[in-house]
Symmetry: C2
Subunit: 235 residues, 2 copies
Amino acid sequence: MSTIFIPKHIHPTYSNNVFDDCLLFHNLTPNELDRLEDYAELSKCDDGEYLFRQDTPADFVYNVISGTVAIERIFSNGRRQIIGFLFPGDFIGLTHSKNYDCAVRCLTKVEVYKFSRKRLNTLSEEVGHLKQNMEQIKSRIFSRVMEQLYVLGQKKALERLCFLFMQLLERLPGARADRIELYMSRQDMADYLGLTIETVSRCLAKLKADELVAFPKLNHLQILNLSAVSELAEC
Amino acid sequence: MSTIFIPKHIHPTYSNNVFDDCLLFHNLTPNELDRLEDYAELSKCDDGEYLFRQDTPADFVYNVISGTVAIERIFSNGRRQIIGFLFPGDFIGLTHSKNYDCAVRCLTKVEVYKFSRKRLNTLSEEVGHLKQNMEQIKSRIFSRVMEQLYVLGQKKALERLCFLFMQLLERLPGARADRIELYMSRQDMADYLGLTIETVSRCLAKLKADELVAFPKLNHLQILNLSAVSELAEC
DNA sequence: TGAAAATATTGATAAATATCAAAAAATAGG
DNA sequence: CCTATTTTTTGATATTTATCAATATTTTCA
């Protein structure tokens, strides 16, 4: 059995059955996993640093082992839009294009497995499961972006924040309603949700006042009324 | 030389060098094009009808020959978000998932070439160029969705409309600044841009009043001040 | 630890957009 | 061609969010 992707000691909240959880690797035989292991290289990146920048050659694919990153896109007028946040288990850089069309900024210390995109593609030609898995991951990413389109197009500020909270609850490994770590700043939330930082702040205050959520610490979110938050977030 | 994709008689504004323009087919040898032709089937769809619905099996890929379609996604609360408009030369259904995650509604009479997705994928394994082209198309689609994310997240109503106009000018075959046919309703524009129909209407009035655009007919747009419209649209 | 810097919150106000209602214009069908 | 229906525009108003400014809180680092 392959020893790659045993992140438990790195990220204790990471689930046991990581292979099942991790779309790229589930269904693979031990032999196939061993081959993947040869291709992988553990890489670290500090809080605030960029894993890669927009418009640089898209030579690598990353699998997040620990930490949180923001996918951001800078436009010619200098403004940025955060496309999403990624967490342990997620993949980065599964683009089709020659260059990355987004930058990836680490919100925390981050550990990733780094794969040569070329070699991963070659391997995926041979290993049918792997290819299918990659397609499925891309499909999920696309689906998530379309959901975000809807949120930005149709939802109010308060609802957008609830949407973010539900995403965090669902996607942050180990997150529970009473313990969600917000690794991103208020400005990051604003840039993700298409709001200003003041609006984010005021909505947080409103949600607190209504006792839907609480903040024992600035970045420690508790969802007190899950059904209400979930309803506001609903797509 | 293959005779597939000779849409000139169907859509007179379609450019001469259709193979160069059409990402899926450029670079292919006559022989490869012939094989593709065997896979293609001409299919028609009327104004207002759906080419396919959301959550139905994604068995086909379509290439628009003539007409305009809207890609729309319905959410569980019944509201819809239009993801984009597609024009002659564009591809539909290049999804990774088993089912279509969007519906496709025809805004005009539409003619498409219809390919079995399975067969197209098989062929793309053999024909390297074709595969590359498909990846490139997907990449463009993704890139366009991310641009729309930014527009919905950061831009004002007036700017969003200008963004739409510039998209139409660039992507509608045969469109010129003084002659852009708006095949979509005001409500469609609103659902695409995350606005209400009233706001769309008022912004059009404002753009008219400022003489940036004119409407000789309800759905015939003229861009009078291209640099101003372009500047407002800028990403 | 304590001062400086960065980040977040709150307040007052302005601007943008949505909502509701009515009128006008365009389209469809006999 | 004319009427009924649909779509679009316009108006009045309410709501939401942004902007600008000030204060409070948190973090950083000497």
